[in-house]
Subunit: 139 residues, 3 copies
């Protein structure tokens, strides 16, 4: 067994910008040469999260609206008074969704469902460049 | 260290059907022969999720109601217009809960709390047969 | 590759008490001697959860309020009738947040963002002593 490390840089518009990471994660898995194991996807930072979804435009917008409903951006959070950067809602959404995801792979392929893609959701209130850390553990 | 792969097939009624996976995961762990390590539980598909709960009927129904409150099924989501299968709410709940869970084991036993079980929640709006992928990593 | 196991005991006040686990996880990682790999943080029990946040007092209180809003403590859940311990809301919040987190490390350091800390949230309605299981997998 071994670990192969990779990193992906993703530029986002913030404001619930949702990016499909699947093709790039699969590409890096391929070049790792590993066949059986687990892919860790981890986003550095406290205003973004990682999960899976069927990546189609309607649902992507539904998810953005849901997060706006659960954690509204149009109120003042205590965090906003701490720093004055007015992105308290971004942090809270990130904590709720979580920064890491673990996906099994076999035969060198991510074992996602057909309609299941790995996404980054950038909750921040401005464009960001995100550092996504990957680790492939296996044989 | 090595990886042992397993799969569990679970038949659900959909509509927030919640299944206790713990006995089967423990059984597969036993037969893997591994003593110390980590159990990955991953559900393929974009309308189901995995987490832990105290698996007792009252709480199971509470969780179902909570998810209905947070992501109501009685409104129209954009995703419903895309495919016409009216399960936008199922996808959103799945993205919120997430598809994967990692549980440590020691002495060949899952190290869950006494009142902590591994569950599959099937959010889809119809009965489904689910493929749960397991990976035991350890020694 | 190998696995190094550790456990942290944390005393909480319950009621959404939020503890920064980062310094202790980093300390244990250091003493494991491992340089490259993954740190699993898992809380045993069904009324606590683990995630990341920028650990500053304002945001910590924001998160507590958000969870109170999403899963109110001032209503009766079915679970409360089962056991009479009135902490149905604690269980539901725990299932939503999840008990496990996986963080990559490199050069013997957790690869968190600068403003990203690992937290335990204790949702129970009374003080608790929590058992946090750690596993460092790597080389």
């Amino acid at each position: 067994m071994k670990i192969v490390k990779e990193a992906i840089t993703v530029t986002t518009r913030g404001h619930n910008d949702i990016k499909d990471l699947t093709p790039e994660v699969q590409r890096r898995l391929q070049s790792s040469g590993l066949k059986e194991g687990q892919a860790l996807v981890f986003v550095q930072g406290s205003t973004a999260g990682v999960t899976t979804i069927e990546y189609e435009p309607g649902l992507v917008e539904d998810l953005s609206e849901l997060l706006e409903k659960l954690v509204p951006s149009d109120r003042v959070y205590r965090h906003d008074e701490t720093w004055g950067d007015a992105n308290g809602f971004s942090h809270l959404r990130a904590s709720l969704l979580g920064p890491s995801l673990l996906v099994p792979f076999a035969g060198g392929r991510l074992q996602l469902g057909t309609w299941q893609q790995i996404i980054l959701v950038d909750f921040d209130n401005r464009p960001r460049t995100r550092n996504i850390l990957l680790q492939f553990v296996g044989e």
